[in-house]
């Protein structure tokens, strides 16, 4: 694992936001690493621990707790479909099915500890997310950092076509 100088600079800058305790920077450092490497492997965890003068377990326990961190590689574009009540009432489960059908994603092996499914060609990966806080315009879907509202089954194809 090689950390580009610019990334490390950004990480060092982030750490200064926590003048009282370096440990507070665990989440931001992991976010930056995940953003760059797409997921967090053991090396990333060890590197973070060394950087923040922690034991690797202090970092691993954070990675395994938060749904926002992943330990397996996602597709080129990672999709999150909101699953919670208002979106579900608006048809989020149907949206999930439709996207999986269009992108050829098999979710049969998905479980609590392994929530992400990747398409055959590796272009898309998908998971259900809990409430994305836009309940009035469901179903809502995030693709990477982009936010999309009212994605019903009819809008799914258009959404995917925006990413290639």
């Amino acid at each position: 694992m090689e950390i580009p100088a610019q990334l490390e600079e950004e990480i060092d800058q982030r750490i200064t936001h926590y003048p009282v305790s370096k440990r507070s920077a665990v989440l931001p450092v992991l976010h930056l690493l995940q953003h760059h490497f797409r997921y967090l492997d053991q090396e990333a965890i060890d590197w973070t621990a060394a950087k923040l003068e922690l034991e690797p377990i202090n970092v691993l326990e954070v990675v395994t707790f938060y749904p926002g961190f992943r330990q397996t590689a996602p597709g080129k574009y990672h999709i999150r479909v909101c699953r919670t009540l208002s979106c579900a009432m608006a048809g989020a489960y149907e949206t999930m099915e439709k996207i999986c059908e269009l992108a050829e994603i098999d979710r049969s092996a998905v479980s609590h500890h392994n929530p992400i499914a990747v398409s055959k060609d590796g272009k898309f990966s998908i998971e259900f997310a809990e409430c994305l806080a836009s309940c009035g315009s469901g179903p809502v879907v995030m693709v990477e950092d982009d936010f999309h509202e009212n994605i019903d089954t009819g809008a799914a194809r258009d959404l995917l076509s925006k990413y290639d």
Partner: protein
């Protein structure tokens, strides 16, 4: 100030009273500081910095402002909990972890009016004596985090942050801290643990009341985004005048987030208690979908207890007791509590007669089972069992005793956990069973699945008898 014009199709409803959302969907409005300054921005920070900190706290107390995050606790009183002989640094944290299902108001403040929040925070930090503040933004708002960080940079450039704020000897740094997708970080002590770089296991109270032992074991004030924005308006209007908005003990405005089976779901800022549930549904949201009848309402985020359309509630009006229906409930903190639920975070979820209540509850149970932090046994195990039971009721594999078991599991979580998540996850199950019990009983008969058997144990038992 000029009356704002709004983007076509997004004009506020005439019943609305826009204060916090004054600039949301406003024509020609942008999140940058120039736009905010042109509109009279940061004038209240100037005004506040010329006051004594205690004066500000007194104004906030006089305003009657109650926290908009869920619990409805008076903001000024919360500030007053910082020990008077404190010598440690004080921190302020803005809770922008908005994750209560049904709630989507903070998103618009962060995206469209970040300087209003920063101004509210400057005033609040000055009042409580904080020199370092964090905005804890949920991971699912990446765009908001960027916008707010840019706003902080602009505020720095204009000397509203940093050393010698506005030429005074007050100094303040605000940083954005991004969460990582866990609902429990909305609980203030869980949020603090998360900000310390740990798993967000909530702390036990007492002794860990944040105002005394919060971030890094120092006094810490945690306030919701909307609450901090209100502080700016309290300073602008004066506590007493602000307190005249809304109804007594339920002052000011609040943003209702309506979702579910209505024609116009969305956000509506109204004076607290000045509109009823019926007016929210019929006037603000344009009524139910065609041909549908109201079945149930979750009035204050998914954790609040569900209300049935034909329920009757007894409330006190002055000295008189009065019976009212669901549609007559004024949208305020106290009446909602008197009706056995809570105004919570302002997330109103409307359900019509096409909804199967076992399916609805199962969806919520799945949420809580996923989000339990796992620290306390009743919640960790119970939330999962509640989900398993409702899932089989939906699937059609329920057992005759499932309703009783579900009730008993929920009753054994409430009040037995470190944080309020225990209540949050058991209240939906308790209230759905209480109000839609028949539907759940019917669901246990949905299947022809036989009771699970254990053939090995049966054979062994037979063997024992023979001997």
């Amino acid at each position: 100030m000029a009356k704002p014009k709004y983007i076509e199709g997004k004009e506020p409803h005439p019943r609305e009273h826009r204060m916090i959302f004054r600039n949301v969907d406003r024509k020609g409005w942008s999140a940058d500081i120039k736009c905010y300054l042109k509109d009279g921005g940061y004038e209240m920070a100037k005004k506040a910095l010329a006051m004594e900190p205690a004066e500000i706290t007194n104004e906030v107390k006089a305003s009657g402002l109650r926290g908009r995050g869920g619990a409805g606790f008076p903001t000024g009183v919360k500030w007053g909990f910082i020990p008077p002989n404190n010598t440690k640094p004080v921190y302020l944290i803005c809770n922008a972890d908005e994750s209560e299902p049904g709630t989507f108001k903070d998103r618009y403040i962060l995206h469209q009016d970040p300087h209003q929040l920063i101004e509210g925070m400057i005033i609040s930090c000055y009042a409580v004596g904080a020199k370092l503040a964090y905005i804890y933004i949920r991971e699912e708002f990446p765009e908001a985090a960027k916008i707010v960080e840019e706003a902080i940079r602009e505020a720095h450039e204009n000397k509203f942050l940093g050393k010698n704020v506005l030429g005074t000897d007050f100094e303040l740094e605000i940083y954005v801290h991004r969460g990582a997708g866990a609902y429990i970080c909305g609980e203030e002590t869980g949020l603090i643990e998360s900000l310390e770089g740990k798993r967000p296991y909530p702390r036990i109270k007492p002794p860990y009341f944040p105002a005394a032992l919060g971030l890094y074991m120092c006094p810490t004030i945690v306030n919701n985004v909307e609450s901090l924005c209100h502080v700016k308006h309290v300073i602008e209007m004066g506590g007493e005048a602000y307190g005249k908005l809304g109804t007594p003990r339920n002052t000011g405005t609040r943003i209702l987030c309506v979702s579910g089976d209505v024609n116009r779901p969305g956000y509506y800022e109204v004076q607290v208690g000045k509109v009823t549930m019926g007016e929210v549904i019929d006037e603000l949201c344009g009524g139910l979908k065609k041909g549908r009848k109201l079945k149930a309402v979750i009035p204050g985020g998914s954790s609040s207890k569900v209300l049935r359309a034909d329920e009757k509630f007894t409330i006190k009006q002055g000295d008189e007791e009065k019976e009212i229906g669901l549609l007559d409930i004024p949208m305020d903190f106290d009446t909602m509590a008197a009706c056995g639920s809570m105004a919570g975070s302002g997330g109103v979820i409307i359900m019509d007669d096409s909804r199967d209540m076992t399916w609805v509850l199962n969806n919520l149970n799945e949420f809580y089972a996923h989000e339990s932090c796992g620290q306390c046994t009743p919640c960790r195990e119970g939330s999962l069992w509640m989900k398993k039971i409702t899932a089989r009721l939906v699937r059609g594999g329920g057992l005759p005793e499932d309703v009783k078991t579900l009730q008993s599991v929920a009753d054994n979580i409430e009040g037995k956990t470190i944080c309020a998540f225990g209540e949050a996850c058991s209240w939906p199950t308790q209230s759905f069973l209480n109000k839609f019990g028949d539907e759940f009983k019917k669901a246990t008969k949905r299947s022809n699945v036989k009771k699970p058997t254990n053939p090995e144990a049966e054979i062994a038992a037979k063997g024992l008898v023979q001997k």
